[in-house]
């Protein structure tokens, strides 16, 4: 056997230019598309993690201003709604918001009627749709789909829910509803106790809401069956931000001394184990009589749809905020559309 193979010259020349450190910071292989329109305040709305406290407050301020506005500021602009998963409120309120401001909407609400059925990639779908629309709203069963869409798109992308990951516009709506009932939330003049009840483990609205509320003066009551407790990463986030929280399992702990009760559906579609779903599906039911002894100013919220976690006996109480919350989808999504399109 001959001697050792001559080895290739190592690619270490860059070391000299980098103070002896090998630089391994490399960029994504696919650079984001250049924007099609002039600068807007927010390029995309993909994850609540991309928003600062100031930006969240800005969205709510704009939503407040646009609440009763119907005009033509988005005239000639087209919204494409790409809903690969079922939706009622998100898609229809986006289309209604666009229509109220003079724009129009195209799209589909079923993946089976799109070219995804033929195997088209999301990347290709978005590259094509950017030529048809000025803004894209997407709901997709896979986590990270909205981020991929945003990176493929030259027009703003609004995430209408990506798997169990994020649903940022729902979070804006939740904050808007809370701020309507408790204006002191945004200016930090008072601390509020927020109880989160139900599926704290899989619910994307819960995760986004916790990230957003962590910017404000709140304390949490986290009420769930043991198997649906909030994940450690979120508990650690709360601890790191110095936000007080208590965990519990009883419904009365979610009412007594609480300012805002946020109820969620236990989502069958997110459970890997159907047996576990059957075990916990009827863990809670909020009834009118459950709410005795609530504080003044107390409200009950729910992102909807509900199954049976809130009884109809609650629907017409003064504390009920969930139908108004769904209605706030329109001003909030008007604000989002205007902010990403730079048309205030």
């Amino acid at each position: 056997m001959s001697g050792p193979r001559p080895h290739r010259r190592p690619p270490f020349d860059r070391l000299r230019a980098n103070g002896g450190k090998f630089c391994v910071m490399d960029e994504p292989l696919r650079a984001p598309m250049a924007p099609k329109h002039a600068a807007s305040e927010f390029r995309h709305v993909v994850s609540i993690n991309d928003f600062s406290r100031e930006q969240l407050v800005r969205v709510l301020e704009v939503a407040s201003k646009l609440e009763h506005v119907r005009d033509d500021r988005l005239k000639g602009r087209i919204l494409a709604t790409l809903f690969f998963e079922p939706s009622t409120r998100t898609r229809l309120s986006l289309e209604a918001a666009m229509t109220q401001l003079g724009g129009s909407a195209i799209g589909f609400a079923d993946a089976h009627v799109s070219s995804a059925k033929k195997g088209e990639t999301l990347y290709d779908t978005i590259r094509v749709l950017t030529q048809y629309a000025d803004v894209i709203a997407i709901r997709h069963p896979l986590e990270g789909a909205a981020r991929v869409a945003a990176e493929a798109s030259s027009v703003p992308v609004i995430n209408g829910g990506d798997g169990s990951n994020q649903h940022p516009t729902q979070t804006f709506i939740d904050l808007f509803t809370m701020a309507k009932a408790h204006p002191g939330l945004l200016d930090g003049s008072k601390e509020f106790t927020v109880a989160l009840l139900g599926d704290l483990r899989y619910g994307r609205t819960i995760h986004s809401l916790i990230m957003a509320l962590a910017y404000f003066r709140v304390r949490f009551r986290l009420i769930s069956p043991p198997s649906l407790r909030l994940g450690d990463e979120y508990l650690e986030l709360l601890s790191a931000r110095g936000i007080p929280f208590e965990q519990g399992e009883r419904l009365d702990e979610a009412v007594s001394g609480v300012d805002i009760l946020y109820v969620t559906r236990i989502q069958e579609e997110r459970f890997p184990d159907p047996v576990e779903y059957m075990r916990v599906r009827n863990s809670y039911q909020v009834r009118a009589e459950s709410l005795g002894g609530a504080k003044s100013g107390f409200i009950v919220m729910h992102p909807l749809p509900r199954v049976n976690e809130i009884d109809r006996s609650v629907d017409d109480l003064k504390v009920t905020a969930y139908f108004a919350q769904a209605g706030y989808g329109i001003p909030v999504r008007k604000a989002v559309l205007c902010l990403v399109l730079g048309r205030l």
Binding site: G20, V24, Y123, L142
Partner: protein, 151 residues
């Protein structure tokens, strides 16, 4: 070299020595960096004054390229890479902590878009491991799967 050290890991004439690999990631590094036919020596759980326990890999007649170094930096940024020529260290290299690791890991979340579309994975180093840029989940390094760098 002292007799004691020589007994633990033999020296090589030319190639690459990767030292200061965290003990629990040594076999992962072996799996990620080696190719069929490679000649290499592995030391696991060796005593280290700075790390307590560490791992070491010595490649005979092989110099790691950019792809291998990126892979190694992703899982063991504190490792040192020594290029050996004629039994001496000709270059010594600290990897540094990469902010972003692109195209190396496979996201352990089966419902992440990167496992369904042709999208290069992007992970960021965080305290607890790696955070997927797309699905936003955080995974400890031990759970990471990876694309083997092309040989």
């Amino acid at each position: 070299m002292s007799e004691k050290k020589k007994l633990v890991v033999d020296s090589i004439r030319s190639g690459t020595v990767i030292d200061h690999i965290p003990a629990d990631r040594t076999l992962l590094a072996v799996e990620m960096l080696t190719a069929p036919g490679d000649q290499y020596l592995v030391g696991v759980n060796l005593l280290s004054t700075s790390m307590g326990r560490k791992g070491i890999i010595k490649f005979q007649n092989k110099v790691l390229d950019d792809a291998h170094l990126r892979t190694l930096a992703a899982i063991a940024p504190q490792a040192t890479v020594n290029i050996i020529e004629d039994y001496n260290i000709s270059r010594k290299l600290d990897l540094g902590v990469p902010d972003k690791v692109t195209g190396i890991f496979i996201c352990p979340n089966q419902n992440c878009i990167t496992n369904h579309e042709s999208v290069p994975s992007v992970f960021r180093h965080v305290d607890k491991g790696f955070s997927c840029h797309y699905c936003e989940r955080v995974f400890p390094v031990q759970r990471m799967k990876f694309h083997r760098p092309s040989i």
